[in-house]
């Protein structure tokens, strides 16, 4: 066994180390140095940038490892948790531009998202329930719990970005359904005392992303007017299918399935004005969700080797 000191890293090694960030931290700690050694041993002399094939393989290998490691524990509980985490974050993104006018309800939505992500389901329940009722009441013009009535204009900064008044473009059934799904999911996880792993604080980064992709802030009300949102949905569903395929695990497909009721309610709510684009949007989401489930089924029948 040789134990000579390691040479100083060159540009190629530094670049490979950055690419290894695609792998989970624990995997890097266990096998990162071994991968670096093999990468450098197989590299052409005097090369300073990784070949494209190696870069793609490292990215795919890292994502695959993350998917396999994430596919631990009961799939159904993790799927419910993933779905309600995503929905509660989307709910925050929907209400945040109006925080100046409805600070209590926006705050409750934030509280719900944090409680859900950190697995405090009993705390999330009342907050999600109250927010759900209030969003529905605001949309129906009922001054329940407080006197907030439409119109609720966006705060000055988001209004400058073109954010319209709350629920002025549709609703409230779809947004209320999104809140209700969070309530129901949290109730199931609380009652069954299931303990999926806590979600990262990095989910907070999804809030500005969701506000950004809903360029005209028709969150959960008019997808065809928001191509950014549709692109994000398609991207996430493709990722869900791929992760389910490589890990032979249904949790991502199940989570995608739990998102569909919101989409169905949204279409039903706007059925009178629905365009072919709206139907195509829903059909595409249903197809991709089904494809994600089929990918899992196929992987389970044919172990990946």
């Amino acid at each position: 066994m040789t134990t000579t000191p390691r040479p100083a890293p060159g540009p190629l090694e530094r670049r490979y180390r950055r690419m290894l960030l695609a792998y989970p931290r624990g995997y890097r700690a266990g096998h990162g140095e071994e991968l670096i050694a093999t990468l450098l041993a197989t590299a052409e002399p005097h090369r300073s940038t990784p070949p494209l094939t190696e870069a793609v393989a490292l990215l795919a290998g890292g994502l695959r490892t993350r998917a396999v490691q994430a596919a631990r524990g009961p799939a159904w509980a993790d799927a419910v948790h993933l779905a309600i985490t995503a929905l509660s974050v989307a709910n925050v993104a929907m209400l945040l531009p109006y925080a100046g006018t409805i600070p209590v309800w926006t705050g409750l939505a934030v509280f719900t998202a944090v409680a859900v992500a950190r697995r405090r389901f009993w705390l999330a329940l009342p907050a999600a329930g109250l927010t759900c009722v209030k969003v529905a009441a605001i949309g129906l013009g009922l001054p329940w719990l407080d006197g907030t009535l439409l119109p609720v204009f966006a705060d000055p900064l988001p209004r400058e970005w073109g954010v319209p008044a709350l629920l002025s473009m549709g609703g409230p059934a779809a947004p209320a359904t999104a809140h209700a799904m969070v309530f129901l999911g949290a109730a199931v996880l609380a009652v069954r005392w299931a303990a999926p792993r806590a979600r990262s604080w990095r989910w907070a980064l999804a809030v500005p992303l969701l506000i950004g992709v809903n360029t005209d802030m028709r969150a959960l009300t008019d997808p065809t007017a928001t191509p950014g949102r549709t692109a994000l949905e398609i991207g996430l569903l493709l990722l869900a299918g791929w992760a389910g395929h490589v890990a032979a695990d249904p949790r991502w497909a199940l989570a995608a399935l739990l998102y569909l009721p919101v989409e169905v309610v949204e279409l039903a709510e706007n059925i009178g004005t629905a365009t072919r684009g709206d139907y195509a949007h829903l059909a595409l989401l249903v197809f991709l969700t089904g494809a994600a489930a089929a990918a899992v089924h196929r992987s389970r029948r044919h172990a990946l080797l």
């Binding site: 040479p7 071994e34 093999t38 990468l39 190696e54 490292l58 990215l59 290998g61 172990a303």
Partner: protein
């Protein structure tokens, strides 16, 4: 579980097949496997490192290979992998499957091929769906 995995997984991917075949000669570390596979495939299969270690993880998870030993060379760890009995059985089964599949084609010689000549010129025409225009050399 392993037996079921092996049974369900046939045929394995080409990369996996060559990795298992490389380990038939004894334990190898990652770089050794890449070099061995490149040589065995006559330069055709060049395994990217990310692909190799992903496959090694899956094969180890399925009980088809195992870590023989670990070493530290130039300050960096290195694992040597070996075939398990299940892995040996799988690669031999796969080789036999491919041999049988190949024999369907190699058993009949086609025009311009280097395979063993067929028994009758008519068979060549049958294989090509037309009248035979080629005759095997008699010498």
């Amino acid at each position: 579980m392993v037996a079921g995995m092996a049974k369900k997984s046939l045929p394995v991917s080409e990369s996996t097949y060559f990795i298992l075949a490389a380990l038939l000669d004894g334990p190898l570390h990652g770089h050794g496997i890449i070099k061995h596979v490149l040589g065995m495939s006559e330069g055709r299969v060049k395994l990217p490192v990310g692909t190799l270690y992903g496959a090694l993880d899956r094969l180890a998870g399925g009980g088809l290979i195992a870590v023989e030993r670990e070493e530290v060379v130039d300050g960096r760890p290195r694992r040597y992998f070996r075939l398990t009995d299940d892995g040996t059985r799988l690669v031999l089964t796969e080789a036999e499957r491919m041999r049988q599949a190949a024999s369907v084609v190699t058993g009949r010689a086609l025009p311009g091929s280097a395979f063993v000549p067929l028994t009758s010129p008519a068979a060549a025409g049958l294989a090509l769906g037309r009248r035979p225009v080629w005759r095997p050399a008699l010498t």
